[in-house]
Amino acid sequence: MHTGAPVIAMNRYLNQVRAIVWKDFITELKTRELFSSMFIFALLVIIIFIFSINLSIVKASEIGPGVMWVAFLFAGTIGLNRSFMLEKENGCLQGLLIAPVDRTALYFGKLISNFSFLLIMEFLILPIFMIFFNIDLIPHLLPLIYVIFAGTLGFCTIGTLLSSLSANLKSRDIMLPILLYPLIIPIIIGSVRMTSQVIAGEPLSSMTNWLSLVLCFDVIYIAVSIMIIDFVLEE
């Protein structure tokens, strides 16, 4: 009895998170609106970069990681923007807030769905990136996955928090990137640096400083979001 109560509470919490993630996935599977726009947008960013950089002068392996992360970032912003805006339509957010769900569960649910949408999109972009930039990523795939995972998580932790905030603003489409980009500059620098080192064939152990910086960022901003999400999602 004594040990049972926390387990039941934990299960209930996980169920709440799962319900929100499930809802997002079902909506996405039905409309395929968000995913297709994110993917095409990322592709366009890469192509525009290829036209604006002279690849016969610049080495592809030097410029590639930066272009890749810019594409992820821009496409990710679209995803984040949609994430809470969709809830604003027809008063869905109101419903979610009235429901007996913990606010942090709402945050985690949204974080997980944003994170997984972005990850799926990124792994679909990778082969295209490989072909366009003529970089062989396959021998470095494992460390690369690790780097993309850590960087994307950092982007999504703070991005989910800010998108829950900016959804309430009048000029939300513009305000989200303006608020978000300066804050995630450490993540961008770290991810680009690590990606180029990985592509150069260096092991992950040679970049522990960057890895710990990005992972610290992830952990701290998840913790901060748990603490302050109640103040953002207040009606």
């Binding site: 703070i158 603003l169 608020l179 804050l183 450490p186 770290g190 400083n209 302050i228």
Partner: protein, 233 residues
């Protein structure tokens, strides 16, 4: 406003004016010209205090944001706003005086050095903070959102610092606060002038804070009066 508060605020203003007058005299007359860099180095006595004030203001924004979320009192919101505005102004001053100093010394207006870059990012964060404030209608939502941004923005500073530091750096190692002690490697007259300037700028911060808080409180009063007399009949 009480008579007493008015008096103390005018004393503060006069004190600040006096401190700046002495500071100016020290910068332009008393302190010797730096041998390597020449007269342009005198801009340091404005550059460093402005940077100190910017960081100090952002720290106050952080503290006031936490206190606002905790206590939900309008005054903390006002303090955070006032401090953020002052911080952005002084951060802009740092970004203006920096290139003026850098041009003759480094031969370029701007280099992507660690401290320049992190100051620029900091400026961007707090400009976006102010944009958020100006674009949202007054009320509890604006105060809460601003406080949230004030907290996460300040927590970002260590990450920005390290990421930009590992990215690249050209700045001379800090002279003022170094492992060898406070002000080691600088002439005593220079340290004294810098301290004087730092003191004057800090006083200025409190003067500006007082004025800005007064303006914001008056705005609230006007809103309240409008609500009471204009819309009700």
């Amino acid at each position: 406003m009480s008579e007493e508060a008015k008096q103390s605020s005018s004393i503060l203003i006069w004190l600040t004016a006096l401190a700046f007058l002495i500071g100016m005299a020290a910068i332009f007359i008393y302190v010797p010209t730096e041998q390597m860099e020449g007269a342009v180095q005198r801009i340091m006595y404005f550059h460093i205090p402005a940077a100190w004030l910017a960081f100090f203001s952002f720290f106050i924004v952080f503290i006031c944001s936490i206190l606002f979320l905790w206590k939900k009192e309008r005054e903390w919101d006002i303090y955070a706003l006032a401090s953020a505005e002052i911080g952005v102004i002084f951060c802009s001053l740092v970004l203006i005086t920096g290139p003026i100093w850098a041009r003759p010394i480094w031969g370029a207006w701007w280099v992507w050095d660690a401290r320049l870059t992190s100051t620029l990012i900091l400026w961007l964060i707090y400009v976006s903070y102010l944009m958020l404030r100006y674009q949202t209608e007054a009320g509890s939502m604006r105060a809460r959102f601003a406080a949230v941004l004030g907290i996460i923005g300040f927590l970002d500073i260590p990450f920005i610092h390290f990421s930009v530091l590992w990215w690249r750096t050209f700045h001379p190692p800090p002279k003022m606060i170094s492992p060898e002690g406070l002000g080691a490697g600088m002439d005593t007259s220079m340290v004294a002038t810098l301290m004087l300037s730092l003191g004057a700028f800090t006083l200025l911060y409190f003067v500006l804070m007082g004025q800005r808080i007064k303006v914001e409180t008056m705005k609230d009063e006007v809103e309240q009066l409008k609500k009471d007399h204009l819309y009700s009949n």
